[in-house]
Amino acid sequence: MGHKHQTGLKVRLAARGLDGVTLLIIPSLLLMIGLFIYPFLYGLWLSFHPKDGSFLGNYARFFADPFLYETINKTLWIAMPATLINILFAVPVAFRVRLMQNQRWLTTLLVLPITLGTVLVAEGMLNYLGPQGWFNRTIMLLGLTAGPVKLVHNYWGVMLSLIITGFPFTFLLILSYVTGIDPALENAGKTLGARATSRFRHIFLPLLIPGLAITFCLSFVQAFSVFPSAVLLGAPAGPTRVISIAAYQAAFEEYDYSMASSIAMIMGFVQLGIVVAVLAVRGLFYRGPAVGGKG
């Protein structure tokens, strides 16, 4: 009887999709809970237990000290324009590249700065964009400026590094959305006499809005957490003292993990806030398939 009951339970569980195969997910789930969820919750808890013993002491300190709270504005002031520039340039390029037969060489070249990473790009930019670098030599040779232009160790250095590593990332994401739109839709517009600009405005753009929103979120979140290039290429004590520098200094220079966790939480909530806002705006636009139906 008991045996029969057991098989009954097993069958019922299997019918709900729970059997030996399902258990294979458990190690990964435990790993993610232990290394991602638990540290996040612990960090949140720790942020409410500052050194002075008060509940909101860290947050009060953060929003009272301009050296700390201004990091949010400084980071937004770098991350927002960088993300918008990357998207504005990536869309027209993706529309040209979608027509290419062989995109592989181009995507390979563009993947290069992503795989090399921000640290190497920073070292390259310090050489290349420095006062004696090839870039400044070229523009002086062409007579565009009288003296070298200062492009590193300031705001522009960080901005350019976010474009060099961010543009390929944004472009490859947008390209995957653009190529996902059924060309038959464009051809239909063409047949009906729509010009390129109105085909873009009335056919592609509405279909692309959801993809652009996702791309914006991913690119922005990456840019907002800019760290090595803000130190190496920026002015980390001044205009490019971004929020991740503040969090790093709290953790590894002041050894105040509670404060560091608070800053990390604030960073996370600002990112989350922007993402939620963008996705809410996206909800106002067309949501539907990007392929032609037969209805």
Binding site: V21, M32, G43, T115, V119, V121, R195, A251
Partner: protein
């Protein structure tokens, strides 16, 4: 009027391609600067160095203890690759083959570490690791690097496993294959191309993963990219050429693995395969 339209269109196409060319020329020139500088005896106030030498590679090798750093780098990277495969592939198999309660929550749990930037979750993670005594050790660095790579393997492998017909597995069962035989003779050969692609991408990403390694590593557990960061950070202490020599060594290692990876995957996959998932709903 029509002529004007054609002209405007040509001008538009020309400017788009000029932009792409400008970007790529600057990118390649930037890389060329690093390589040229690493072989320069002296390079000040001129287009090209006075003379060329390879001595900076030797001095970088000893100054930055690159043999130790490289051994650490490869230990970390290969451990991360092996563990990501061991954790990720079975989980992807379960996700692809079964519908179970809470599957959406599991999916969200695997998506989040890929969407939240490493610095944001790296600081609480480093705090926990330092409190458990794993901070600064190689084990800590490996654990931290698994956070984005295991979900990455899962998300790359799910569509790959879904396109393998489950009837093949049923057929093997019918012919009396044991679970081990089924795994070893049927599943593994079928999964191998997808695993190879996913793990090569993990490898390339882990070599270049700066933030998590930087936040969790100590003096004995630095990988090459973190050592490069410290060298650039302390620029002025060492000769620029020496730092550039190290940058070239880093670049060579990354590019070799990238070329190997690109034989098996589309370059766009490095970015899009895993990032595309959230749009699928």
């Amino acid at each position: 009027m029509n002529q004007l339209h054609i002209l405007g269109r040509r001008l538009w196409i020309f400017s788009v391609w000029s932009l792409v060319t400008f970007f790529i020329v600057n990118l390649l020139a930037m890389i060329a600067t690093v390589i040229t500088s690493s072989t320069a005896t002296r390079w000040l106030r001129s287009w090209l160095p006075d003379a060329y030498t390879f001595k900076w590679y030797l001095s970088a090798w000893s100054e930055f203890q690159l043999d130790d750093v490289l051994v650490t780098t490869f230990q970390v990277v290969f451990a991360v690759v092996a563990l990501s495969g061991l954790f990720g592939v079975p989980a992807a198999y379960a996700m692809a083959r079964r519908d179970f309660p809470g599957k959406n929550i599991a999916m969200l749990l695997f998506l989040l570490p890929m969407l939240v930037p490493p610095v944001t979750f790296g600081i609480p993670l480093a705090t926990v690791l330092y409190q458990t005594g794993l901070g600064g050790t190689m084990a800590g660095v490996i654990l931290a690097n698994l956070v984005p790579t295991v979900p990455f393997v899962i998300l790359v492998m799910i569509p790959f496993i879904e396109q393998i017909d489950p009837k093949i597995e049923s057929a093997a069962r019918v012919f009396g294959a044991s679970t081990f035989q089924l795994f070893w003779r049927i599943l593994l050969p079928l999964l191998l191309p997808g695993m190879l692609a996913a793990l090569l991408l993990v490898l390339v990403r882990t070599i270049a993963m700066f933030e998590l390694t930087f936040l969790t590593s100590g003096p004995t557990s630095q990988t090459l990219v973190v050592a490069l960061y410290y060298a650039v950070f302390a620029a002025g202490v060492r000769a620029v050429q020496s730092i550039d020599a190290m940058a070239v060594i880093y670049m060579a290692i990354t590019v070799i693995w990238l070329i190997i990876a690109l034989r098996f995957v589309n370059p766009a996959q490095i970015v899009t395969r895993a990032k595309q998932q959230p749009s699928a709903h």
